[in-house]
Amino acid sequence: MAELLFWPALLLYGEAAVGYFGDMRHPGRAGRVATWGVRLGWLLQTALLGVQAARDDGFPWGTWASSLDLFVWLVVSAYLIWGCRRPYRLLGLIVMPLAVALLAVARAGGGTGVGSASHYSNLFLVVHVGLVLAAFAGFTLAAALSGLYVWEERRLQTRPATILRRQMPALATLDSLALRTVAWSVPLLTLGAAVGLGRLVARGDRLDALIAVTAATWLVWCAYLGLRLFGGWTGRRAAYLALAGFALVVVVRLALPATHFA
């Protein structure tokens, strides 16, 4: 069953990634087809997560690979909030190839199958893994919005004749959406990390590299919020800081998980 859901979801996400590429070259039908690919793929992946939870008698997010599966679902969910609107389709060009790649990695690590019941409690998985991953998904989306901001601002400064050919979100909108996304994500990370730390202290475990980099990530995104809300940071500077924060998210999600899940 999980196989029957995984492959169509992956194919639909792949179709969306290709569709968004086509939409960039010739805006129109390719973009609409891609958006439907995201919607249907997301539904299938939701069903996949449901099947995994039902078969394993609990949330199967206790391994790095299965948490990556959940992370992809959260990123696509967050993207779907705006991605269906035409001006934001270009965002899909950043989000969907990433989703395809990460979902494939999750599968390679055995995170999309069934029969990997976790030794963690469901409550811990939801509050710690769920919240931390939701925050990381938010940061990923904020970084995508910031990347789009930098690209669009560059176009406004180089002034190509084609600048108005494609419907794009306004610079001010991208800037404010990135801020709002981070403003939601930082409290989620704070709460999720606090729960994890509480468990760590209670069990007397030691800090690992992933926890240290997660703390650094938390600091960067807190700094982002502080500088934007109280330091008057806006526009390109804030966008670069968001991209730097996302680099840490990549390290946490891809480079160091072995130290934590082991």
């Binding site: 400064q157 050919r165 979100p169 306004a170 610079l171 806006t234 526009g235 390109r236």
Partner: protein, 400 residues
């Protein structure tokens, strides 16, 4: 059958000196349509700065055409040679192209759709004109939804406004500083104001321009179009103002030749500078995009015009179809009456079943002839088919 007739002229056929003779405001257009409709006709007058067209629906196309041409000639005697006359399918196709903006000076311009809608509302319409105008509005909306023909700005002032939206999103409560007041800058300011922006200051004289530093820290858009021989705004002045802006974005539009704004301003963080060449290149590009999209729009319009033609042509055979169905129903009821003595033994539900079965037989028998007659009508054989049906089924002379 009621015929559709179009008589009018447009920018393709008549220069402005002639068009202005027959240009009508809303009240005049409404009155003209009402006058033409006095003899039981339907009439709508579409009058814009680029065209005045009369759409008339009447049984006698020739007579309707003459009446419409005479009505226009009474407004401008010299207009007669530049009038075009179209009928039925061609007239509908023309109206659909007009509503889609394909007949406009700038392909895809959006204002015409609203003008056609108003003309429809003010006209004296009946079944035919109501249908053709509704379908034209539908075609116009479909073209705008399914193609990119109307998405990009078609003038320098519209391009400036579109760029402002690209930077700020909504222009509500955004403020504009006007340096100089040339025609194009006024148009650009008007365009921005129509989207919610406000003019904070117009600095026309040299003295006024020397006092804009404070305003530079406040406004969102600067539009410059002075006749000054040199730069009016240096990059250093803007850089100083930026410190007080706390990262707020500033869009600067330089419409002057020689330029008013230092080109180095465009390199400052948070400043976006466009000069007249940039805007003109954007307009050239967007116009070429509109022309490319026009091919797709033409296909949509043609499909809609074909649908209208099929409906219009089917009107030829509608009376014959109605007579045929009435005759069949009459026979069905008569036969049921004859069998009353047998049916009397049936209970209510069995009687209803017999009614339903006989009605279904009639419907099934007549379905294919009805479809074929409508198809034949669209292919111009409708009248022949209708006559044949009347003859074969002995439909009465009163229905002819």
């Amino acid at each position: 059958m009621i015929r559709l007739v179009l008589v009018g002229t447009s920018h393709h056929h008549a220069p402005v000196e002639l068009r202005e003779q027959i240009a009508l405001d809303r009240d005049q257009a409404q009155a003209l349509a009402a006058r033409l409709a006095e003899d039981g006709r339907e009439a709508v007058c579409v009058s814009t700065c680029n065209r005045t067209e009369l759409y008339v629906a009447a049984p006698d196309a020739g007579e309707a055409e003459r009446a419409a041409a005479a009505a226009l000639a009474s407004l401008g005697p010299e207009i007669e040679p530049v009038l075009y006359r179209l009928r039925d399918r061609a007239a509908a196709h023309h109206l659909f192209r007009v509503a889609a903006g394909l007949d406009s000076l700038v392909p895809g311009e959006g204002e015409i759709l609203g003008q056609v809608r108003v003309a429809h509302e003010l006209g004296t319409t009946g079944p035919l004109l109501d249908r053709v105008f509704r379908q034209a509005l539908h075609a116009g909306r479909k073209v705008r939804a399914q193609t990119a023909i109307g998405e990009s700005p078609a003038s320098v002032s519209a391009a400036a406004a579109a760029l402002a939206e690209q930077v700020f999103g909504s222009l509500e409560e955004r403020s504009i500083l006007l340096l100089g007041a040339g025609k194009v800058s006024e148009q650009a300011a008007r365009n921005l104001r129509s989207r919610g922006a406000e003019i904070a200051l117009v600095a026309n004289s040299k003295t006024e321009r020397e006092q804009i530093h404070e305003q530079l820290a406040e406004v969102d858009v600067v539009i410059a179009s002075t006749n000054a021989p040199g730069l009016v705004l240096e990059a250093a002045t803007v850089a100083e103002a930026l410190r007080a802006r706390r990262g707020r974005r500033l869009l600067l539009i330089d419409l002057a030749v020689p330029r008013d704004l230092d080109s180095a301003i465009g390199e400052l963080d948070g400043c976006y500078l466009f000069d007249i060449d940039d805007l003109e290149q954007i307009v050239v590009e967007t116009l070429s995009l509109r022309r490319r999209e026009a091919d797709r729009a033409e296909a949509i319009v043609a499909a809609e015009a074909e649908k209208f033609h099929e409906w219009h042509a089917s009107l030829d055979v509608v009376p014959a179809i109605a007579s045929l169905r009435a005759r069949a129903e009459e026979i069905r009821e008569a036969e049921l009456q004859k069998a009353e003595s047998l049916l009397g033994r049936l209970d209510e539900s069995q009687r209803r079943a017999v009614e339903a079965v006989t009605a279904q037989i009639v419907n099934k028998l007549l379905h294919l002839p009805t479809v074929r007659m409508k198809q034949a009508a669209a292919a111009a054989d409708g009248v022949l088919y209708a006559e044949a049906v009347r003859h074969l089924f002995g439909l009465g002379e009163d229905e002819r």
